[in-house]
Structures are given as structure tokens and as C-alpha cells.
Assembly symmetry: C3
């Protein structure tokens, strides 16, 4: 499979997504420990170039690269001492000139990755670890892998409900790209009017205002994190009210299919978008998502290097 | 020896402490360099999960894990971008789900480690790298190893003097656990009244108000670090006065046994609790403590993994 | 070659500099990837001890040490939680006691490295990664390597022009040491009067006030970074005016020899000391400097260890 960079799941065909998921599934037993894959990226240098802090995602990529035997360089460009007023392109080109073979990039600027790729050598590889509100493709892939493990490979019969702040969520956008490409039967979205995008993002989705109605008979409930700054921005009136309207608790979960799974990209605001009972309950697959994240990132690293 | 976690030296028998020290002593030649132990923890992932900053202790654990061949993940949860409002348990469980096999935890909250262990899988291992004022067990072990190297294995004939802020010191608490368990002959404590605990911590110890008296004829002088915030809290009137009453200088050291050793857990406030002359003098074993720290941490890592 | 530490290029003979450059040149093919040199420093611990932040230089040393198979410990002493009020010597001695074999030190204090070396064991190795305004010897070496690759090994026929804030630049001082030692034919310096040193630094150099005149017929143009704090200090009136008088653009570059090369130690202030057109143009060797930096640092690490 010729995928030199992973920028957006919108760039991938159903076949390519499936192939990546199959690779991740094969790596799954090795993902969480194992020294059997150490030779795969030996001698390769992978740099986590983060213009925005994210310890969790960085750690997941770091472990994935480590378990494939790569050299890891962590470059934190999120504060000024990292960048010293230099442009992002110059920072990347400097590291490339030091022999970095692949960059894992997190940035708050939508589409910045494209500028970096354009400025880099053809042989340098890039993985998007989250850009602005646009894409978080490895999160999208790990979500699909988690769904597939619990609901099978045929997405056409599935009803999936996404709940919360879709407007500001790169996770939601990547999930929507993947779900549409994989032919998901029904995608329902539910959230405060002010936190739902007006553009083509939700084309093909059912907008259902009432959460009780949106969750009815669904197979998968994907909860999104509520950033607390939405309160200051006046987009959400109070955590209490948000929880009442859009929080997932046991009563609501009982409206979904009996074997419905509950997902959350983390970090969770317990008591806001999700209760402890549900987050830690038998239908939660939230920790499986995290574990699948390492396998998916190993698969993506192998794929971009053609290894 | 079945010690899956190291939480407090109070949990260990004299036999277990001795076994850990023997293991550290055997590793001592390999601890400071050496590639001979690289295979021991190969394929294991060790995470330093620090909710409170401590570069020194983290570095010591990192080198210990590295020299045993483990993969190391540093997770700094001491500032908000690390935790994003997530609970400590959720942060730990996320990293566990990524395949971390053992956590080295530093936290300002007494007993927090127990919550983490309760929430973790049975197979996940924990080492306390300092919690609140309660425990710093690897420091206690490295102190015992240092004493044993200079004074022999029989603690029953030893007089040991602990000086300074015992109230706020997890180091002192761990040393006291170990000294009592190993049957130390006489434990003397000396410090400002406001910095000595009222509870059972000092049971079995001699409280001696005057430092000249407390140090007389002692085998080991353990100085503690004076945190400068004790001044702001009004617990100590001035650095100058503290130094006069509780600072170790050459005159005072001459009151101890001629072959007495001087210890300090670092970092030192030179000129406050200890003078340069003593810190760098022939009776100081402070650097030996640091070196022993790596050996002790290697021994603890091997032991918790049963490796 | 017996070079246990690299403190200043002023300490090295022409023969020693040449030998280091030859070693770097041989390592150049392996410097940017390669696993062929992994065994060279196996079992050695190298610590980047930075009292001043510098992500770029630290990354270059880290990759160099990694590619030689050393264990790397990053110790950031640039903020208080790193040092906790401890002296630099105590911090170094602690890490040395943990088994660090070599320190790569960055500090804002001129000559501080000498204090560290004096306090260390004889067997501990030191590399200066920049101290105050005095020295940045690996930058000097990588600049010489870059010149040699483009202009040959005989420096006696070369005209080299250094432009900008020489007063505050450790890069300029190291370049000047090396250029003089290697017998550079003509060294011209050009910059605002307030940013040129009055002492012996510029002995043997031609001071030329006008940039157009200073660049005429030169083989190498070395631009220096303008720190923005020079404005606040009143040493430079405005970025605009600085650019007009001392900025390198295509018009000025056309005054140099047709095959002149353009160098910059980075990070660049584009539009201030250098235009995009020149920085990214065919005569720029700025990225080659960065790549050579890894090779030079590998050569220095090998040399100090006698490996």
C-alpha cells in the first residue's frame, strides 16, 4: 500500500482504511509489549514535533515507535524556547537536516501539515497527530478498529451516535470521514446547536436534538470531550445543564441496544459528558480504544515507511 | 522474594529489606555503567509518572531502568497540560492500556499510590518514588545500603542521629521504618520543636533538643534538607539561626565518633543545614548515597518483576 | 588524539581541528541514519546538562549520541524545579555519581564549564554546547566542515565575511578561533558599532563598516542571528533599519564571488538578517551546516572517549 503520509482519513479509500486496520489487528498482540517487532524500524529516526502540547498522544506514538525499534526524538515546539520565533517550516527542515526520517506532528493550525510536507524532501514521512479542528486520523483509525473488534467488519448495519462538541472536534471529523468511507449504516449526531458545524461536515448524518431519541436502539455511542473553555465562550451555559442534556448515564445507556458499546477519546470529564458508572461499566470500551491506539500507530508507522 | 510493589518500607520485613540490599550490592558494579544487565527487563515498559516535579529522582530511576534494558516513558503530570483535568487514576489507566508494565510514581498526596494500585490490573507493578510526607522507600533503602557499606551489616550497635525537618520529610519516615526494622541500636532525632512530628513516627527514638548533645559519640549523622518555605510558614525564624542551632559544621562533627559518616539526601542547601567543609569532607558519603541509589533502584525493578 | 574535553576551539591546534573534521567527514554518511556505528559508545551514559534552554542543539547532540549507541539522559536545569537552588557543581556531581560518563553542557555563564571540570572525576568527559558569549565549539567545527566541503581544505586563499552581532555571539567567537587557527586568508567583520567587541576578539580581522564593501568578492558570508532583545537594550534602533544596513539580500549577495556560500547558525530571523530568497537560494548551505552538526558531534563524542 502506497501511503507515504497520513494527513486525513478523507484521503484514504475504504480499501486502504481496511488494510491499515488489518495490519493494526495483526500487530495487536505485539503492540503492548513484545520485542518481536524491534527490527522493523531499526536505524530510522522518528520525531514527535508538537506545536501544541499533548502528553497522551505523544506517549502513544512514542511507545509505538519504540516497539518497532526506531530512534525517538521528542521536540516540544509548544513554547517559545522551542521555536525562538522560527517558522514551523524552518524548525521541521532543521530536524530533517539532522536525519529525522518521519515526523509525527501536532498543531493547532488547520492544514499546517501540508505546508510542512511541501517544504520537506520527498523521502521524509509525515503523520498527522491532530491539526486544529480538522483531523486526528490515528484516533479515527483506532476508533474504527475498536468498533470492528466488537461489531464486526460490516459497518452497513450499524447505527452510531456521536454526542457533544462536534464543531471543535478533530476527533469527530476523522471519525465521520472513516464512518462514511466504511459505509456506516446510520450516523446520528446530537449536541448543543452552537456546537454543531453548519458546513458539509454533517452531510449524510441525522441531526437529532434530543439525546434520549438519538441514543435509542444505537449500536455505538461515541461521547466527545467538552472543553471547559466553551463555558467562557458562552457556547455552553453550565456544566450541570450540559450534563443533564448531553451527559451519558446509565438511564440513557439503557435506551441503546443491550450490547451497545460506549466510546470516548479521552481525557474524560467525569460527571460532565459521562458518569463514572458508564465510563467504568461493562459496556465501556474506552481502555480498549487506548490499547488499540498503540497498535494503530505501529501500523501507520510501518505503512508510511513501506516496512 | 514476592514483592510486587514497593509502597512503604513499613511493609517489608528485615529479611526482605536485607535481601533487597544484597541484590543492590551485587548489582553495584554494574549499576553505574555496564551493559551486562541489559537483557533483564528487555521488552518491559517502565513509566516514570510524576505528579510532582523531581528531576533528580526521575533521572536515577531512568538510568536504572535503562541499564536493565527496559523501555522508558517519562510522563510529567505535574502541570495541567499533562493531566488536562483528568484524574490521576485515569491518567495511570490510560498509560497502562498503552502497555506500561510498571509505574514509578511521585506524588504530593499521601497514600495516592494505593488508589492507583487498586485501580490497576493485578500484573501492573508500582514503585513509590515519594508520596507526600509519607514514604520515599528507595531513598530509605539507599541510605541503609550506604550505612551497611561503611558500618557493616549489624545495625544493633549503631548510634544514628537524624537532624532537621523530620515533620515534612518522607525521607526521614522511610529511614526510620528501615532503621527500626533492621534493629538499629539507638536512633536520635534533633530539630526545631515545630519540625518534629507528634505522632508515632518518633516512637522508640531519643529526642535530643541540643545538636551538640545529639551528635555526641554517634556513628552516623543524617542531615535533612530545609525547605525554604518553612521560613514563610513561620516554622523557622531565619536561615542564619537555623544554621547556628541545627547546621552541621566541622566543630560539631568532631563531637561524633572519629569514623562517623555524614549523609544528606540532597539537594543540599550549603551554608544552611551543612557547611561546604563537611559536605565535601572525608567523612561525607553523600555521593556514595547517590551512586547507591541507582543500584537500589535496579534491585527494586528486578524484584518487582521477579526478574 | 588526546582531547578529553572540548571547551574552546582556542585550545586546539590546527592539526587537532583538522583531525576532528576528518573524523566528522568520515562519519558523515552514517551521521544521518545508519546503525553501523551503534557499538561505538555502547554502555556509555551521556547527559545533556542544559542550564539554558536550547532544543535545537540538544536535539543534535541527542541524535549524535543515539547513533553511536550511547544511553542519553536529558537534564533540564534551566528552571528551578531542575536545580532546586542547588549549585551547578552539585547538580553535575550528582549525575556523575549516577554513572554519567560525559556531559554536554549549555550555560549562560562564561567559563562555568571549567568549574564543572575541576569538580569532576578525571575520567568524566565534558563538551561545551555553548557558554555565555564565549564558546560554541561544535558550531565552530561544523562551520569549518561546511566551508571545507565547499571551498577545499586550504583556508589561506579564502576571504570570509562575518556579519551582525559579534559582541554577544559565542558562535562568532568559536568561528574566529577556528578560522585564525586554520590560517584563513582574510576575515572581514561587519556590524553595528555597538555590536562589535572592543577586545582582542577581532585582532587580525578587517573591520569594514559598510556591508556592500565587506561582502565584495568574498568566498563565504556568515550571517549571525539578531537577538530581538538588542532592540530593548537600545543597541539596535529598529529591525527595519538593521535589515537595510546589515541584512543579506540578493542584491548584496551578487557583490560576493559568484560561487560564494551563505551560512547562518540558526534559528533565522527571516526578513531581518537574511531574506527568504537568499536563505532558500542556491548559494545557501544552511541546511548542510545542520547536517554537518550531527557528524561533528559524533566525531567529538568519539574523540573525547578515545573510541
Amino acid at each position: 500500500m502506497n501511503v507515504p503520509h497520513l494527513i486525513s482519513l478523507a484521503d484514504l479509500s475504504a480499501g486502504q482504511i481496511t488494510e491499515l486496520l488489518d495490519c493494526a489487528q495483526r500487530l495487536r498482540p505485539h503492540a503492548l509489549s513484545g520485542s518481536s517487532e524491534r527490527g522493523v524500524l531499526q536505524g530510522k529516526s522518528v520525531c514527535t514535533l508538537f506545536f501544541e502540547p499533548s502528553t497522551r498522544t505523544r506517549s502513544s506514538f512514542q511507545l509505538a515507535a519504540m516497539r518497532l525499534g526506531a530512534d525517538i526524538l521528542g521536540f516540544d515546539a509548544s513554547h517559545s524556547s522551542g521555536s525562538k520565533g522560527e517558522t514551523a517550516v524552518d524548525t521541521m527542515r532543521n530536524l530533517e537536516a539532522m536525519g529525522v526520517d518521519a515526523f509525527v506532528v501536532r498543531t493547532s493550525i488547520d492544514g499546517q501539515l501540508r505546508d510542512l510536507i511541501d517544504a520537506a524532501h520527498d523521502s521524509t514521512r509525515f503523520i498527522n497527530a491532530g491539526d486544529g479542528r480538522s483531523n486526528h486520523p490515528t484516533q479515527g483509525l483506532l476508533d474504527m478498529l475498536t468498533i470492528r473488534q466488537h461489531k464486526g467488519r460490516d459497518f452497513s448495519q450499524l447505527k452510531i451516535t456521536l454526542v457533544g462538541d462536534i464543531l471543535h472536534s478533530r476527533v469527530a471529523r476523522s471519525d465521520l470521514h472513516a464512518l462514511k468511507t466504511l459505509g456506516c449504516g446510520e450516523i446520528r449526531v446530537c449536541g448543543p446547536q452552537a456546537l454543531l458545524p453548519d458546513d458539509a461536515t454533517l452531510d449524510g448524518c441525522l441531526r437529532i436534538a434530543d439525546f434520549d431519541e438519538a441514543i435509542a436502539d444505537t449500536d455505538v455511542v461515541m461521547m466527545l470531550r467538552l472543553q471547559r473553555e466553551r463555558m467562557q465562550e458562552g457556547l455552553v451555559s453550565s456544566l450541570q445543564q450540559y450534563h443533564e442534556q448531553y451527559g451519558l448515564d446509565s438511564r440513557r445507556l439503557a435506551l441503546a441496544k443491550p450490547d451497545a458499546i460506549v466510546m470516548h477519546p479521552g481525557p474524560m470529564n467525569r460527571g460532565v459528558e459521562i458518569t463514572d458508572e458508564v465510563a467504568d461499566g461493562p459496556q465501556s470500551v474506552i481502555m480498549a480504544q487506548v490499547s488499540n491506539g498503540v497498535a494503530v500507530r505501529m501500523a501507520v508507522l510501518k505503512t508510511i515507511f513501506g516496512a
